[in-house]
Amino acid sequence: MRFMAAMLAATVVLPSAAAYATDLEVTHWWTSGGEAAAVAEFAKAFDATGNKWIDGAIAGAGSTARPIMVSRLTGGDPMGATQFNHGRQAEELVEAGLLRDLTDVATRENWKEIIKPASLLDSCTVDGKIYCAPVNIHSWQWLWLSNAAFETAGVPVPKNWDEFVAAAPALEKAGIVPLAVGGQAWQAAGAFDVLMVAIAGKDTFNKVFKDKDADVAAGPDMARVFKAAEDARRMSRGTNVQDWNQATNMVITGKAGGQIMGDWAQGEFALAGKVAGKDYTCLPGLGVNEVISTGGDAFYFPVLADEEKSKAQEVLASTLLAPATQVAFNLKKGSLPVRGDVDLAAANDCMKKGLDILAKGNVIEGTDQLLSADSQKQKEDLFSEFFANPSMTPEDAQKRFAAIIASAD
């Protein structure tokens, strides 16, 4: 019970509407520095309503946290709320009746109007009912460049992918890894998706991932993407790190020229005290095709028997989407808010670029929403192998890629 006391001491309980001070256990896998700081904003806001956020953080997104969450749900001992990738992944839990219908809250709070882009809420919708609260927008399509690294190599900071490829030999000569790609499989797969939008364009992306068109996947446009991936593979040799933020750290410290990574990498730059535009450069859509995807995180609320807790769930859902919470959370997290109506004055250069693109509507859906986790995993297996194994030709990889798309559902 010692830690309970510690908890009480840690979360300075605000003296407020203590009419229903309910503990709500929230599980999530946000444990890295920036993430934890961001989630603390949620907790603070929720505690301010007189309830209490019991933190159930488990590091390691897919492999560790998800089976635990699913086990808890199916085992009949659900948590109060849980982070989950929205989109295809939670559908089955909804169908099994394990997750709570939030339509009432959504209607009351008018989510349909305020959440932009609308595709976010669509991902939460099953049979016309809303089951999750999206909390942020993450986009993958960013190339982060270390200004210092290019200075060392004596070449100007590139403005797009092709210039970057051209600058690679100079970087290598200076002992700098041109492109940092962490060893975990999802990073290679993600980088490929980014290359795909940048080089083959939005339409090809949608044909392949939305329409599952295997012919396009095997076609000449994609062949160009695979050629670019081969370049990336060559440039990434010598990375020798596993985690994405270790790869980001190589860019931060100038050991690597750049990294293709989602906007969450920005949190790491911020934490290291780096300033966008001065210390590092960000190129959305690799500087070629300024399109960003609108994936993101969402919270789901399991069906609970306890009425008090059910009420607290509603409070939490509306708290997560409250304008102030959205701003505070997303600034820390390095992601974009899901509401079009909040003012993000504090946003830095890169975020502003993102907001601009968002405003122009140059968006695509994230692969998480378009593909099943199963296809995603197969894709990860393929690209992690491709990036690690120089003897695998782009042609072979493309064949296998087309096969995955053909069998995707």
Partner: protein, 300 residues
């Protein structure tokens, strides 16, 4: 207890009643969990279950896909290499250490503790530390290079061709201590007179070990084998902590395939199909042997 076979027939069910009652937890575990869980897994491997198990049967689809997946093939190959080498090395190294420890040496306690302590640590820890030591940028390679041998290359975890040996180094580090202990205990159990007889007969020490002592240690080797082999089949955490299966898919193992497809890919059917294949392989090897070893033989 062969002697009890002659008790009268009417009491058959009641005979050994206490023993049967006391064995209920074991029977339940064996039947409900291990057997039931296995059957459940096999049945659902024929479905297209995704995130949640659903009885929507699709025949052998999952198996076809499994054997088409390059990653599964690599996993099986890796397990074969890792398993064979782990068995050979941990038995050989474990036995050599045990034999050395059995030479009435000084500081036996110290040495034994040193060899055994890694077993107290979790695989996660083992993987992490070895990932570090084998990292070319600040581990062994960089240290040797700093000493002046600049062309020295030792980066098993970042070379797809040898990565499984990097995992092996860590696995052996953790596991051989226990093997050493088991075999040392076995050596200590050998009748002192056997050694004396061999010496009087003029049989050199290595021949005594090879032809007399090792054959005598069959039971302890079997226990050791069960423990090592069950660890090999289940190897998962070590790979996750050390390489995450990389570079690429070069150090993937079947248990990780099962886990990844069950929980990351949310394709339970695929995961179950993979685990069924693992179980079938294990069962083909183990069941006949286990029954002979532990069941068929009467107590001497």
């Amino acid at each position: 207890m062969t002697g009890q076979a002659h008790t009268g027939r009417p009491r058959r069910l009641l005979r050994n009643l206490s023993s049967k009652i006391a064995s209920i937890p074991m029977m339940l575990t064996a039947v409900v969990i291990f057997l039931g869980g296995t059957i459940w897994t096999v049945v659902y491997s024929f479905t297209n279950s995704k995130l949640l198990p659903r009885a929507n049967f699709v025949g052998f689809d999952q198996y076809e896909r499994l054997w088409d997946a390059p990653r599964w093939i690599v996993s099986i190959q890796n397990l074969a290499i890792y398993g064979a080498l782990t068995l050979v090395f941990s038995l050989v190294v474990g036995f050599v250490l045990a034999a050395l420890m059995d030479q009435k040496i000084r500081f036996e306690n110290t040495f034994r503790t040193i060899f055994l302590y890694p077993f107290a640590l979790s695989f996660i820890v083992t993987g992490l530390v070895w990932q570090w030591i084998l990292n070319p940028e600040f581990g062994v390679q960089s240290v040797v290079r700093a000493l002046g041998w600049t062309s020295f290359t030792f980066d098993p975890l970042y070379n797809a061709d040898i990565v499984i040996y990097g995992v092996l180094i860590a696995g052996l580090w953790q596991g051989t201590g226990l093997v050493m202990c088991l075999l040392l205990a076995g050596l200590r159990g050998i009748d002192e007179d056997i050694w004396k007889a061999a010496r009087v007969d003029g049989i050199p020490m290595w021949k005594t070990y090879l032809f007399i002592v090792i054959p005598m240690m069959r039971p302890v080797f079997i226990t050791t084998l069960v423990i090592i082999a069950s660890g090999i089949v289940k190897v998962y955490d070590l790979v996750v902590a050390q390489t995450s299966g990389g570079p690429g898919i070069a150090s993937e193992v079947p248990a990780k395939y099962v886990y990844d497809y069950m929980f990351q890919a949310q394709n339970l059917g695929q995961g179950f199909a993979a685990s069924t294949m693992m179980l079938v392989t294990v069962a083909i090897i183990i069941i006949p042997w286990a029954y002979l070893e532990f069941g068929g033989r009467k107590r001497v």
